[in-house]
Amino acid sequence: MATLSNNDIAQAIYLVSKDKTNAELGDINNKIIKFFARRRLLTKTKDILDRLGKIINHENGIVVVKALSALKLEEETKKELIFFLKERFKAKEIILKETLDKKLLGGIRIEIEDEIIDLTVKNKIKKLQEHLTRKI
């Protein structure tokens, strides 16, 4: 028997819960919890829920973006950024999660799952260092 991955389980939960009323969802949730207990999956609940969140976001065209910067982003910049990201990822909605990190020195670093766009000063300096110390 093929083993079920956490992703498969999350996908299955999404499909059974999709377009269901609140009353139906209560019943489904009970069944899911019983299934988790029976299959000893309760320790994996957090991972499965994370994956479920990703699946729901993907299906609804929501992209969660982590923006790291040295200084707080201005509203105008945020708007521009969201507009650009909506275009690039063909998303209906962008959820921007901002983090401040002084070590970045300046600029901004965008993280969308495993993709990054690094426009920070720290990264530029690192690239310059690589350029100057390369073997000729």
């Binding site: 991955s5 990054i116 766009i117 426009l119 100057l132």
Partner: protein, 499 residues
């Protein structure tokens, strides 16, 4: 160099620098152990793609799973931490190559380790490549002269052939390979010696030996020592063959030695088990045959349309207590075009090289011999096989008829002639002369313990007194009637004076 000059140059470099804005896929280290890392993320990574870690360490993605990527690390993995960012390079693992690599010792990543300065490289070659197809190939018919009588006469190796050297430990497997390299002087051949999981002291000894024999002028050593991580041992033969392919692409003939593939299989087994791939026979993974077949298939002889050139491969496999039916030996035997089987018993009997003529075979056969050698060595293998059989009978001490006795005597002399000390390869024309004397019966009345003395004397005498014979073999690969007569006369003269 003035400070101003340095500052100006730095300014110029900084002016020229422009950081490209790119989006890249990254991963994060989940766990690191025994030279293996499990990485999350890296969504678009390819199999065998190179990745880099924050400390500059490199690795290659081998296992692409649903959520994680299994990476083998080529450098010291002790500085890699959980959560470290891993970048995919988009490149399949490559090694730098160039003409100046000749005479150097490099590691499995192609980096020089002999302390003789940086090697200038022109190109990089991917370490994994699909072997040349049928259309580009030519059948093997040009010999690789190893300088070892028993091999050149009985188990000839051709350019583009794959001949396995197999035997227990301490039977002279490496010695044969090193002799073959030493004999390539002036033969228009580039040699690549790949040392896999060997002791550094052994490698140093080999390097010194090759330097002493002037062989480093056409040799490259690729080393993945036993103290280095298993991933380096795993890629070393592929690095070696990529270097060989660089020279083959220039139309050159290359001889590559993999010393040895049993250790290579063991390194691959270690990686596979750590990557949790299912173990099979002897705990080797299921694709261990493909591991060696794809490596050895890259040995070939190209036709002129595709630039000529060839790669001759001499893989070495170590057996345990002479067991050739173990997993790796049987695999490699079936992949290669023949094997040279070395035996401990023969080695301790003083028959060195300890080649078991009965079990050794070259599937290319006499096509890979010059005409003169074909003529003298034609019946030698059969004679020796018959001798071994009769030798067993003669143990009973019963009376033997004269024909049998003659065969036994000839066999004893043949065994004696085929003995050869290490590091003393013999030119093919000399081999022909000595084997001619043997098969034509000139040695039948020389006592067995004086055969070596007779051989040495005969060679120096005939070289001076049968110059035409030697010249003809060098130039035309065969003797004429006149040349043969001259040799016969010289042998008879020498025999008369030999006491």
């Amino acid at each position: 160099m003035s400070t101003n000059y340095i500052v100006e140059n730095l300014k110029k470099e900084i002016d020229n620098f422009s950081a490209q804005i790119t989006s890249e896929k990254i991963g994060h280290v989940l766990e690191v152990f025994d030279g293996i890392a499990k990485i999350s993320g890296l969504g678009d990574i390819k199999s065998s793609e190179m990745v880099t870690f924050p400390g500059g360490e490199t690795g290659v993605a081998l296992n692409l799973e649903e959520d994680t990527v299994g990476v083998i690390i080529f450098d010291d993995f002790s500085k890699i931490k959980e959560g470290d960012e891993v970048h995919a390079t988009g490149k399949i693992l490559e090694v730098p190559v160039g003409d100046s690599i000749i005479g150097r010792v490099v590691n499995a990543l192609g980096v020089e380790i002999d302390g003789k300065g940086v090697i200038k490289r022109d190109k990089t070659y991917p370490i994994e490549k699909v072997a040349p197809g049928v259309i580009t190939r030519l059948s093997v018919d040009k010999p690789v002269a190893t300088g070892i009588k028993v091999i050149d006469a009985i188990i000839p190796i051709g350019r583009g052939q794959r001949e396995l050297i197999i035997g227990d430990r301490q039977t002279g497997k490496t010695a044969i390979a090193i002799d073959a390299i030493l004999n390539q002087k002036g033969q228009n051949m580039i040699c690549v010696y790949v040392s896999i999981g060997q002791k550094d002291s052994k490698l140093r000894k080999i390097q010194t030996r090759l330097e002493k024999g002037g062989a480093m002028a056409y040799t490259v050593i690729v080393s993945a020592g036993s103290s280095e991580p298993a991933p380096l041992s795993y890629i070393a033969p592929y690095t070696g063959v990529s270097i060989a392919e660089y020279f083959m692409d220039q139309g050159k003939d290359v001889l590559i030695i993999y010393d040895d593939l049993s250790k290579h299989a063991v390194a691959y087994r270690e990686i596979s088990l750590l990557l949790r791939r299912p173990p099979g026979r002897e705990a080797f993974p299921g694709d261990v045959f493909y591991l060696h077949s794809r490596l050895l298939e890259r040995a070939c002889r190209r036709n002129q349309e595709y630039g000529g050139g060839s790669i001759t491969a001499l893989p070495i496999v170590e057996t345990q207590a002479g067991d050739v039916t173990a997993y790796i030996p049987t695999n490699v035997i079936s992949i290669t075009d023949g094997q040279i089987f070395l035996e401990t018993d023969l080695f301790y009997k003083g028959i060195r090289p300890a080649v078991n003529v009965g079990l050794s075979v070259s599937r290319v056969g006499s096509k890979a011999q010059i005409k003169a050698m074909k003529k003298v060595a034609g019946t030698l293998k059969l004679d020796l096989a018959q001798y071994r059989e009769l030798e067993a009978f003669s143990q009973f001490g019963s009376d033997l008829d004269s024909a049998t006795r003659e065969q036994l005597e000839r066999g004893k002399r043949a065994v004696e002639v085929l003995k050869q000390p290490q590091y003393s390869p013999m030119a093919v024309e000399r081999q022909v002369a000595i084997l001619y004397a043997l098969v034509k019966g000139y040695m039948d009345d020389v006592s067995v313990d004086r055969i070596k003395e007779f051989e040495e004397g005969l060679i120096s005498y005939t070289e001076n007194n049968a110059k035409k014979f030697y010249k003809e073999i060098i130039e035309t690969n065969m003797w004429s009637d006149a040349g043969e007569a001259e040799l016969k006369k010289a042998i008879e003269e020498f025999k008369n004076n030999f006491s």
